[in-house]
Symmetry: C2
Subunit: 193 residues, 2 copies
């Protein structure tokens, strides 16, 4: 399979970076082609410019064209990010704004939204410091709503799973080690060789 | 009163820009001091850098220090933005990430979050193309959750209101004129002279 692995965390020594590296290792071991994107290291610009909405795809910046081509090409999408104010960091929000663009990636029709890039196997790994019951019952699990209902509710997916690890700030080295083992098992199960 | 008016839309001729200009006019007429920020025209950088989290406030970029000082100073906050994937554009998401920073603007304590900037009169004007019943019943009104529950649920507010105008894409000039009149009435009511 071909898989895009997209990381959005400012720190290279973060637990998010460790999740991405663990996932990448399993994907490579299983013989998949992996496109790894560390959005901070790429200096991805998340600000959708005014003139981009109506542009022909061939007039977009080359790195946006490349991302759209990659989205058409891959079978799976893995996103890794922390919970900042109930959502991914702005660098990943803006990646969605710019890459998942109308006309290239989807369109609205009288019968509802139509996706042009095919249905993907989607895996989200997110991290947070909020206790799980508070995140679900008080906040309504906004990261789940964002990915499952808003983004892939519109685009569709072959299958969708999300695992949130919490509370990072209180976690022990042993817990984080067990969580990385769970990441490896999840990627092994969802993207087998 | 002193009020921050924050606009996040790429186009200067957008309905969002017209909302902000209408609100500004009423605030000035009523004798308030208005700090107007068009985040696109300011070229605000929404990418929270790795080294900013632990920085002393005096080591932050001057424009972030200025925003934090303004947040301490104002009585009211007005945000104007469209609905992009169930939230504000990344430029405003990242403004929240960087300006509403821990230690400067809030802290977590054993008794829960504590806000250091005082409680504000908060007004959100948002726009979308999704029908209201779909936004509420299918998506769970994620913009309301973001502002009311996540951001000002944590920071607190003196009072909070939000008005969403939809569906922009199908609206007539007469509807948009009536909506701007409603914006003026709302700002008049919430920020009287």
């Amino acid at each position: 399979m071909k898989i895009s692995l997209i990381l959005a965390h400012p720190k290279t020594d973060s637990f998010n970076a460790a999740i991405a590296e663990t996932a990448r290792g399993v994907l490579v071991k299983n013989g998949h082609t992996v496109f790894v994107h560390d959005l901070y290291r790429e200096h991805f610009d998340p600000v959708h410019p005014a003139d981009e909405e109506k542009s022909d795809e061939k007039d977009l910046p080359p790195y946006i064209q490349d991302y759209i081509a990659e989205m058409r090409n891959v079978d799976g999408l893995i996103y890794v990010h922390p919970n900042w104010w109930g959502g991914p960091p702005a660098i990943l929000r803006g990646w969605i704004d710019r890459v998942f663009r109308q006309n290239s990636v989807y369109n609205f029709t009288a019968e509802g939204p139509v996706c042009h890039i095919g249905k993907k196997i989607v895996q989200i790994f997110s991290t947070s410091n909020t206790p799980r019951d508070v995140e679900r019952n008080f906040y309504g699990d906004p990261i789940e709503v964002f990915w499952k209902t808003v983004v892939f509710g519109l685009l569709g997916s072959e299958s969708f799973e999300r695992r949130n690890f919490e509370q990072i700030i209180l976690s022990t080295p042993e817990e984080r080690k067990a969580w990385l083992a769970e990441v490896a098992q999840t990627v092994e199960r969802r993207f087998p060789s």
